[in-house]
Amino acid sequence: MIAAFPHSRSWSLRALVAATALGFGASSALAADPIKIGVIAEAQAIAGASIPQAAQMAAEEINAKGGVDGRMIEIVTYDNHSSSADSVRAFQRAVNEDKVHAVISSYISEVVLALMPWASRLKTPFITPGAASNEITKAIHADYEKNKYTFHGYLTSGALARSVCDAAKDLLVDAKKMKTAVIMSEDAAWTKPLDVGYEECLPQIGLKVLDHIRFSPDTTDFTPIFNKIEGAKPDVIITGISHVGVQPTVQWKNQQVPIPMLGISSQATNSTFGKDTNNASDGVLYQGVSGPGVAVTPKSVPFADGFKAKFGNFPSYAGYTSYDEVYFIADAIKRAGSTDADKLVEALEKTDWEGTIGRIQFYGKDDPFTHGLKYGKGLITGLMLQWQDGVQTSVWPPEIAKAKIKFPAFIKVTAN
């Protein structure tokens, strides 16, 4: 620790010299100064790895068309090792040393909740491309002046539950006459409001909730969980999983649990999920905001294909949102005519952008989900996809469905 001090002093000295130099040159360089966006993400997790890649892709596209009023977009990336503490340090460094104008970070709700106060303290607009907890928008609503710098660029857990229920009504209740369900979700910040949403909307669509199993995210053996679920004899398992995914799916297949799974399964949104599970994924139904070959908007397919050509795999769900976010941040800076944080926040609030996941608008100050994405027809509804023969296929809503749902032989689709 002691040895580190002279080091850090020389760093701050150097930063001071650099800052002074920048100050002298500022007037002449202003027009061409790049717009810097910090991207802090989980580089080792598949869901997180797409975040910086997609952001970089959007920046290159914008720059190729001349940037924002002649200013180029520069993406500065940081690996947070899926840790809140590392994320906070990266955020401080991004703002204080690398002088970024906005930050895109993380698909983990716990990380986003840890960064929110730092966005306020350092007055830097901050958007998450993949976290879901309702607590994020709730905190913005509760103390708007303090937390207004944070934007929730992905659906809240409440909206996700709504989206799952809307799809389950058409696919399971109306088409397959299913009547009962068991909720299976991991114990994490994002699933608390999700479960509340499920408990509320499943009975409304006609699925009686027989049991509700919450398990630790570090569970490796799912045998007892599946046995307990089977004992309740539900027609369907409604999932809320993100930290786990590969292991329950493989064990579901190996144990031949005869009940279909539908719901949120973040790892299933990755195009590598089939390979990771040796195609045990076949039959899994998962909610998504976009997917390979699915034209949610005219921008969705070109983005996914371009991403695959560049990086070798299709983006995770957080890749789509991260790509859109760079675009609408650029759009907001253009409208604000400035990178000033408060002006940028005002401009971001007026966002009306057609992205890869739908039409993006944010709820306002007076809505309980302040700065959350607006959910609904004509905006973002989400979709339901299914792994079929090793490929992600859209099955809902009907306008963009590519196939009907089908299950592996061990699944018995019944209405008990």
Binding site: A45, T219, T220, D221, P224, N227, K228, V250, Q251, N278
Partner: protein, 291 residues
């Protein structure tokens, strides 16, 4: 019905724990090394088997063999690159060598873990089972893979027993664990015995890792918990005692399964850890410990 379910599931997981812990305790018994890169070597075996079948497209058997071979190589590297240099060093005082080996193997394990996460991400991987499908055992639907796992574990442990008790090489290993100096006086090269033990260990850890990959799946996150579980089983059974480890593995396996079924899957590991604390208070040398 539930009792039979617990009996079957508990047996498979316990057998797997036993196999994982046997190699770990063997190394400690013979050479006094607590190898904290144990979890990393198991995960490495599973990931290598996964990569072989999903990237190189070899069949299940070759994939599994590649996994075990990778663990064998990793184990020998651990001995020659990490453990032996510390044991032979003249600059490290003898009384500090144990702690250096602990730290060295721990760091080596973390290096393997980070490399796996870097190249293959931290998402879980699963090895394609060698046998698929399910059978009904008195009404309990059991994956054939689970039975296969239990059988292979028991078979390998039995082979190890034969090797140690019935062959010349095994007897030398046994002798080295009792009195290393005596073994050298008899004209046997101690280093050769250590190399044999590390090779046996690598194969055991490799088989355990590949089976775990088939049965439950592993990710780079599993490294720490796997080392910790082997460590607690070995401490519970008595450091260095192979039969103690086997008993402890079944105690821990069944305790976890009982908790998962009868209490909640969320509290699975807690009773086993409480038991470990209790044993440390009442019988610090473990169930079958010698000291």
């Amino acid at each position: 019905m539930l009792a039979l379910q617990i009996l079957i599931d508990g047996f498979a997981i316990s057998a797997l724990y036993a196999l994982g812990a046997t190699g770990f305790t063997l190394i400690f018994g013979v050479s006094g090394v607590l190898n904290l890169s144990h979890g990393a070597i198991m995960v490495l075996a599973a990931v290598a088997a996964w990569a072989a079948s999903s990237i190189l497209h070899v069949n299940n058997y070759i994939g599994a063999t590649i996994g075990v071979a990778t663990a064998l190589v990793a184990s020998l590297i651990t001995y020659f690159a990490v453990v032996q240099p510390i044991q032979r060093s003249r600059r490290i005082p003898n009384e500090e060598k144990e702690i250096f080996v602990l730290t060295g193997t721990l760091l080596w394990g973390i290096m393997i873990q980070e490399l796996i996460a870097y190249f293959f991400t931290n998402n879980a991987k699963t090895v394609l089972p060698i046998v698929e499908g399910v059978v009904e055992i008195l009404g309990v639907r059991t994956p054939q893979n689970e039975i296969f796992t239990a059988l292979v574990c028991c078979l390998v442990i039995a082979l190890l027993w034969l090797l140690v008790n019935r062959t010349r090489m095994g007897k030398a290993v046994l002798a080295a664990s009792m009195n290393p100096r005596g073994v050298t006086l008899l004209g046997l090269e101690l280093t050769n015995i250590y190399v044999v033990v590390w090779a046996i260990y690598g194969i055991l850890a490799g088989i355990a890792g590949v089976l775990l990959g088939m049965f439950l799946g592993v990710s780079s996150y599993s490294v720490g918990p796997l080392t910790a579980s082997a460590f607690s089983i070995v401490v519970l059974g008595g450091l260095g005692s192979v039969s103690g480890s086997l008993i402890a593995a079944f105690v821990v396996g069944y305790l976890e399964t009982l908790t998962a079924y009868l209490v909640s899957p969320a509290y699975r590991t807690i009773p086993a850890l409480l038991l470990l604390v209790a044993v440390m208070y009442i019988r610090p040398q473990g169930l079958l410990g010698r000291r």
